[in-house]
């Protein structure tokens, strides 16, 4: 196989990491909303942890994204 073609396929495959990040973010915000609607008084205090969880869940997707960029643009 041509190296360029393999590069593009690899970059595309690296993007599959975003599946997990998307599912994780959905679960995270869904859980937060459920809890916030049941007990709105406690919602504001947990917002820091919501964003922290978001950052951690998202970082896995970002790693996949950065891998894709490395495959595409880093000259070896």
């Amino acid at each position: 196989m041509d190296v360029t073609a393999a590069k593009y396929i690899g970059a595309g495959l690296a993007m599959t990491g975003l599946i997990g990040a998307g599912a994780g973010l959905g679960i995270l915000f869904g859980g937060y909303l459920q809890a916030a609607i049941r007990n709105p008084a406690a919602a504001a205090g947990e917002r820091v942890w919501l964003f922290l969880g978001m950052a951690l869940a998202e970082s896995m997707g970002i790693f996949g994204f950065v891998m894709g960029f490395i495959i595409l643009f880093v000259k070896v």
């Binding site: 820091v48 964003f51 950052a55 998202e58 970082s59 970002i62 994204f65 950065v66």
Partner: protein
């Protein structure tokens, strides 16, 4: 038609070339003012101006003072106060500076003609390594050699504790990388996606000029334009949120070493 090159906007070029300087032990350093350095200086200058304008200290605050106080109370209350507790007060200037600098650098990258400094891995890695070293130094100063208790899970039989401790250590050492990658990836991703949709606006619009069935291209062009506007709004949220997340993670990491034997 110009080629579509989404990575060109992150290119560094020199604005004011300065002669390279020999530093013993480090080798040759190029201290030229590049566009990255220029925009960092502009960000720092904006923050300084903002505080000059905000530091009137009136009982009834004006707009600038109200904004400055809101940001300060947010960092004090929901970051250092909520995460570290009362012992977090000494770290408030550090966390607040990080937050403000990253927020302004992110936002300045969104301005027309702006250069996104935080989309350079060198910049985010510097900030992340600085945070990491701060955590280690504070850990050793506060706890001495008790710092290594951080990796030792309490109440676990020792063969398992060694195993878990190893992974705790690895996850500790990988922190600067995750911090740097998160900010870098978010910024570069947002800008590349915006660039791609903006190129669709032009490309599909030109395609629509062929007439006939190809005029459907105008529809796609309009949709892409709406998408660019929506992405711009999202990027403003992300720019602020990533600064907040960086500051919050700094607080969490500091909390682990500051409240090591207290379990906060």
């Amino acid at each position: 038609m110009a080629a579509i090159e989404p990575m060109n906007q992150f290119m560094i070029h020199k604005l004011v070339p300065l002669p390279p300087i020999e530093v013993p032990g480090l080798g040759t350093l190029d201290l030229s003012i590049s566009n990255s350095v220029a925009f960092m200086l502009v960000s720092a200058g904006l923050i300084a101006l903002f505080f000059l304008a905000a530091a009137r200290r009136q009982v009834v605050p004006g707009r600038m003072q109200a904004l400055a106080e809101t940001l300060y109370v947010m960092v004090d209350g929901s970051l250092t106060g909520a995460v570290i507790g009362d012992r977090g007060r000494p770290f408030l200037p550090f966390v607040f500076t990080l937050f403000l600098l990253i927020a302004v650098m992110n936002l300045i990258g969104l301005a027309p003609g702006g250069f996104s400094v935080t989309a350079q891995l060198a910049v985010t890695a510097t900030l992340a390594i600085m945070t990491f070293l701060t955590v280690i130094v504070v850990g050793f100063v506060r706890n001495g050699l008790g710092f290594f208790k951080l990796f030792w899970p309490p109440g676990v039989i020792w063969p398992l504790a060694v195993f878990i401790g190893f992974f705790e250590f690895v996850s500790f050492m990988i922190r600067p990388m995750t911090l740097a990658m998160r900010l870098f990836g978010n910024m570069i991703g947002g800008h590349v996606v915006m660039y791609m949709f903006a190129s669709f606006v032009v490309g599909l619009g030109l395609f629509g000029l062929h007439g006939g069935l190809a005029s459907l291209g105008f529809l796609g062009s309009g949709v892409s334009f709406a998408m660019v506007v929506a992405l711009m709004a999202l990027e403003f949220i992300v720019a602020f949120l990533q600064a907040f997340v960086f500051a919050a993670l700094t607080c969490v990491y500091l909390n682990e070493v500051v409240n090591l034997d207290h379990g906060h």
